[in-house]
Amino acid sequence: MPRPTTMMRSAAWACALLVAAILAPTPALAKTEIQFWHAMTGQLNDATNELVKQFNESQSEYEVKPLRKGTYPETLTAAIAAYRQRQAPHIVQVFEAGTQTMLLSGAVNPVYLLMKEQEVAVDWKDFIAPVAGYYSKDGNLYSMPFNSSTPILYYNRDAFQKAGLDPSKPPQTWKQVEDYSKKIIASGAAKCGFSTGWPSWTMVENMHAWHDQPFATKRNGFDGLDAQLLINKEFGVMHLSRLTEWQKGNIYSYGGRQGTADPKFINGECAMYIQSSALIGGFTRGVKFQWGTGQLPFWGPPYTKATSIIGGATLWVMKGKPANENRGTAKFLKFISEPNQQMWWHVTTGYLAISNTAVKNLEAGYHFKKFPDQYTAFAELTKGKATANSQGIRLGNFVQIRDVVEGEMENIFAGKKTPKQGLDDAVGKSNDILKEFAAANKQ
């Protein structure tokens, strides 16, 4: 036990520090500060800081202060805690799965209203449809798209070459993925055929959209809170069954949630990898072999192809801030949505440019000719047929639902449950979560 004197001393120190903290003078501020909380790490964090710096240097009235608060869920939790203490930041980055939660939170100032209030003109029609649609309600954009991506197929050209496959032709169908994988493994070009990142997002959410299958009732939840999941139908069960079978012989190798499977592709263990298009930037710097990209594999008839759906995050504006601060927020959001910043953001990070003008300018500058891999995601999102199933998913507590789906995928891949059984359980649990969310958000 510490002696009393030590304890007294530390208590005295604590008191002294407290007094010092209270008495410390606050520096006079010339600029209006805008707090911006986000979850970008590493090179994406650098890019975010650079973007903010560009804004701060472009004018003299406002200063945006970016602050990284941890992972996406941690950032959201921090913002909620701050909101309850009336200390919310002006802008908070929330991932796509938190959209419904934010929409119904009553704590946000919708972006379209903010811009109207502050009389900042934004050409809403210029936003690319698959991105705007995900974050709009009744045709109005509620949060400013920031980092958007979509899953694409990466493939190891060197391994393709070694296996006697054409290194300029990525597989287009799942049948080809299977055949190519077998050839690649047999030739010793790689130990495994393909792996996946963000399992629910790439293999369940996007596979349903890509094949024009509903993920949930009520137009994937866009039409009401009483939606129910539909992933345990014929398509979902078929797709998960094939993935499970493919684990034999290492055609498919499960590598965990989020990006934990990235090393499987980077170190050459798996010759193909389905992951977010936002990895192009990192792969360009970090991958030692020749690689290319292709659109998501397709199962073919009887299914029809729609578009893939986006992932990533948007910037939400918290309500209850004074008008002059809101004006700064509006100006910053307007700044980042402009074509020049969008082009810079896309080229630097690999995230999608969100305005048609920016995409057109990129095309005019032969950017996509020089970097065709950067175009794959745009093609997936805009060249297919946009349907109700491919516009996105809007479910309450979607974060938790994703977690449930991924937990059951692991049970299926581990052989603990059959695909049908696992997906039935995922649907059952998710529907409970949805019911709970609807009850908590009943006005």
């Binding site: 939170s105 938790q400 937990g407 581990a414």
Partner: protein, 294 residues
């Protein structure tokens, strides 16, 4: 035991005051808050709170998944306690031998306690991760068996138990070393003279004499495993694969902070609190009788 007498009536209260403030602020207040939350359905941003009585509890008690997390917690806490307490007694016994460089060993042995659970988790991740860990890579040359705990639940559970136990080792060893050194040499010498071998000496003299420490450590390690093991689980498995390593404290974090279902999370923390209080009371009631205090 020496009895301390304070001359000033108020000094003792002043001395315990800081500790009481910390306890009330960081233990009692949150506990009361959870109790309150557990009776409500709360919207994520806390704007609307509806009183729902015991509905949150009823829902949990009718949920098979919740029972699995309770079972996982017992397996986890049991594993951690046995490994951390047993392992530390063994290592403490070794660290009280007369060997060269003893103080260096003792210092090194204490080190793991200085490592934060989350950091320990990351260290273990780099060693054991199936895709980028060094150990599975080395093992792949020796055996065809895949130590893929991204899919095999029992390996994941073993891994988090071992890594959590490792972080507790140093703390436990410190107690055991002190306890072992306090055993009078004369007692052991007498046993030696009577012809008792090392095992017999351990079973008849050493083990009973350190039993108060064992009791204290078992209780503490168990409580620790139930409550504070969050860091390792979050860094290593996040409760997966499936829900194989979903222990109670991680589930309540996930439901509360990721799922934003604060009512259910509050109810879960109340149940967890009751469970650990109950277990500790049981231990004091039954196990303490077997403890010999000097």
């Amino acid at each position: 035991m020496q009895r301390t007498v304070f001359r000033n009536r108020y000094l003792p209260y002043l001395l315990v005051f800081p500790q009481m403030v910390v306890t009330v602020l960081f233990f009692f207040w949150p506990a009361l808050k959870s109790l309150q939350l557990s009776l409500y359905r709360v919207s994520p941003f806390g704007d609307s709170m509806t009183f729902v009585g015991l509905a949150n509890f009823a829902k949990l008690l009718g949920d098979g998944e919740y029972y699995r997390s309770v079972a996982n917690s017992f397996v986890f806490a049991g594993g951690v306690t046995i490994l951390a307490v047993g392992g530390s007694l063994l290592m403490a016994a070794l660290a009280t031998q007369k060997i060269r460089g003893l103080s260096v060993y003792r210092t090194l042995i204490l080190w793991p306690y200085g490592v934060a659970p989350a950091v320990a988790g990351i260290i273990f991740l780099f060693i054991f991760h199936p895709t980028y860990g060094i150990l599975p890579y080395v093992l792949s040359f020796i055996t065809a068996y895949e130590f893929n705990w991204l899919l095999k639940g029992w390996i994941a559970m073993t891994l988090v138990i071992v890594s959590t136990a490792w972080t507790h080792l140093g703390y436990n060893i410190a107690f055991y070393v002190a306890g072992l050194l306090a055993i009078p040499g004369a007692v052991l010498e007498a046993a030696d003279v009577d012809g008792a071998g090392p095992l017999r000496r351990f079973a008849s003299i050493i083990f009973p004499l350190v039993s108060p420490i064992t009791f204290y450590l078992v209780t503490l390690n168990m409580v620790f495993a139930f409550f504070e093991s969050f860091g390792v689980i979050d860094a290593v498995t996040k409760g997966g694969p499936g829900d194989a390593t979903m222990i109670m404290v991680y589930k309540l974090y996930k439901d509360g902070f990721i799922g934003l279902n604060l009512g259910s999370s509050g109810a879960q923390s109340v149940i967890l609190m009751a469970l650990v209080i109950g277990l500790t009371m049981l231990q004091f009631k039954y196990a303490e009788k077997k403890v010999t205090y000097r």
